[in-house]
């Protein structure tokens, strides 16, 4: 029961090997597979779309240039996300001239959470979404990022730690804190509505 995560597939590893020997098709495969996800991830750090695209460009140019010396990362996705994250943080820090370059910890991460439309519609959904959004906005950037990586990208705690450059223990801690914070900040009424909606979904 522990190992239920879907196997990312042999083909990705084959493409990675092939990319390292300089196969343009495999390189493009990696781009096609990851560019949209990276763009969405990058958007959470900065609203500057051109900056995000610049970072994606730099990331791919970089890995192509040093393709022969790159190792075989255990998870290709993590490797790309991590390198991309570093690029973005560096770039945004450079843009904020008044901040020191080492201050990579001080970043923004903005996520919007929505409740699935199928569950509840109209005013109620807006209201609950509002509450959820408000609670989320009170989390720190790290907490938000961990939640995003866990629930949206479905990374494991080990993988979150790798991407964010923290220990596995710290990634558990961050998640536990943010979840209990969310629970405390959502009213009983919100939870009740969610309950009902959930039951309705089960019945359908």
């Amino acid at each position: 029961m522990q190992n239920l995560r879907l196997n990312p597939g042999e083909s990705e590893n084959l493409h990675w090997q092939s990319f390292k020997t300089g196969n343009p098709a495999s390189f493009e495969y990696l781009y096609q597979k990851y560019s949209a996800g990276l763009y969405n991830y990058g958007d959470k750090f900065s609203g500057d779309k051109d900056l995000i695209k610049e970072c994606i460009q730099e990331l791919f140019v970089q890995i192509w240039t040093k393709r022969s010396s790159i190792g075989n990362p255990e998870h290709i996705k993590n490797y790309l996300y991590k390198s991309f994250r570093n690029l973005i943080l560096k770039k945004t820090a450079q843009l904020q001239k008044n901040q020191g370059f080492d201050d990579l910890e001080n970043y923004g991460f903005n996520v919007s959470l929505n409740i699935e439309e199928a569950l509840i519609d109209g005013e109620r959904r807006k209201k609950i979404s509002g509450h959820l959004q408000e609670a989320i906005s009170k989390l720190t950037a790290r907490q938000k990022e961990a939640i995003f990586l866990r629930f949206y990208e479905q990374l494991s705690y080990e993988e979150i730690a790798e991407v964010m450059g923290i220990t596995v223990k710290a990634s558990y801690k961050i998640m536990a804190r943010s979840l209990s914070f969310l629970r405390d900040n959502l009213s009983k009424e919100d939870l009740l509505i969610l309950y009902m909606a959930f039951h309705m979904k089960l019945l359908n």
């Binding site: 029961m1 522990q2 190992n3 239920l4 995560r5 879907l6 042999e10 083909s11 084959l14 493409h15 090997q17 092939s18 020997t21 300089g22 196969n23 343009p24 495999s26 390189f27 493009e28 781009y31 096609q32 560019s35 949209a36 763009y39 969405n40 958007d43 959470k44 695209k53 994606i56 460009q57 791919f60 140019v61 192509w64 240039t65 996520v111 919007s112 959470l113 929505n114 409740i115 699935e116 569950l119 939640i147 995003f148 866990r150 629930f151 949206y152 479905q154 494991s156 705690y157 558990y172 998640m175 536990a176 979840l179 209990s180 969310l182 629970r183 939870l191 969610l194 309950y195 959930f198």
Partner: protein, 341 residues
């Protein structure tokens, strides 16, 4: 490594959220996980509220996605390619071993993709002369295939696969509309390939006719975009009621009564001032006869009217009477002898 049932006894909400299998169960449930979690619930009914709560937390996590649209993605790729793969000229000195390694990997990739595609074999359906056939596509979309036509498509359509069919002859399609809102995903797209045209569809019923070097698409409802598959010109967007005809390298849009146009599927044909030569072409396409006309003047006449095409004999009779000619099928030579009375 497998967790014992008793491990769950004192589970807290945090434990649940941290549990890999719980997360997968909520987001991508399957039978095995359903069984696993129902047995836990049965053993420890006390866990029900936190399981409920855990599910809600995970399920309510709908993050807004910032979409990189296809055009931007392509442009960005072009920039990257220009700085990378396009820059690298073919490497002149490849050490032998790395050449072998590359070849071995390529074989590996080919082999892997061969395995992958063997599960997606194609289906081809060909109708004989004089017979229609209804076909249900893997997604439930409906196709009525006219006589002497064929359709080809993948047996299964994957989760992230564009729905594609290849049609020769004539077909009426009623496409299952999968796209509701937001960015159009691959599996919500539906493309019909004909000899010269690609018809891209979003939930629609329409008629495709691809015969004699002429392709015509008639749209009854919904929206389709239509592009030549040879050029990169802008596709034409069709509205209900439009017929677009492709002939002699040109696309022409013209308003016709499209319901009449696709009526063959119900065994009826409408003609509005149609040249008789066109009707004879139809006899050849649908019934497989070679038409022999003794008086070419007949071909220049025009015909209007509704007739039933369900029965070949009755259909020929009706036309013969209307035009005051005789139509005699010769079943041995597959010729249709047409004489003016």
């Amino acid at each position: 490594m497998k967790k014992q049932l008793t491990d769950y006894q004192s589970f807290t909400l945090e434990d649940l959220i941290n549990d890999e299998s719980f997360m997968v169960w909520v987001t991508q449930p399957n039978d095995e996980l359903d069984t696993h979690w129902s047995s836990i619930l049965e053993a420890y009914p006390g866990l029900a509220p936190i399981i409920q709560e855990g599910r809600e937390i995970i399920q309510s996590m709908r993050f807004e996605t910032e979409v990189l649209d296809a055009k931007e993605q392509k442009e960005l790729w072009n920039t990257i390619a220009a700085k990378t793969t396009l820059l690298d000229k073919p490497i002149k000195q490849i050490r032998l071993w790395s050449r072998y390694a590359a070849a071995a990997i390529l074989v590996g990739v080919l082999f892997a993709s061969g395995l992958f595609y063997s599960g997606f074999r194609q289906v081809t359906i060909q109708t004989p002369y004089g017979q229609l056939q209804n076909v249900t596509l893997p997604d439930g979309s409906l196709v009525t295939l006219n006589a002497n036509s064929n359709i080809r498509y993948d047996k299964k359509w994957g989760e992230n696969q564009i729905r594609e069919v290849w049609i020769e002859g004539e077909a009426f399609l009623k496409v299952n509309h999968l796209h509701k809102e937001g960015q159009v995903k691959n599996n919500q797209r539906f493309i019909v390939h004909t000899g010269a045209l690609d018809v891209e569809v979003l939930g629609t019923s329409f008629n495709v006719n691809d015969r004699r070097g002429r392709t015509a698409v008639a749209l009854l409802e919904g929206k389709v975009s239509l592009g030549l598959n040879t050029t990169r010109e802008k596709p034409i967007i069709m509205a209900p009621g439009d017929i677009v005809e492709y002939t002699g390298g040109k696309l022409n849009k013209k308003p016709v009564n499209v319901v009449e146009y696709a009526s063959w599927k119900d065994g009826k044909l409408y003609f509005r001032d149609v040249p008789v030569s066109r009707i004879f072409d139809y006899f050849e396409d649908i019934y497989g006869y070679k038409v022999k006309v003794d008086d070419p003047e007949i071909l220049k006449r025009r015909l209007s009217g509704t007739m039933s095409s369900k029965n070949e004999k009755v259909f020929f009779e009706t036309i013969a009477r209307t035009l005051n000619i005789s139509i005699t099928p010769d079943h041995d030579s597959h010729e249709l002898i047409i004489k003016s009375n």
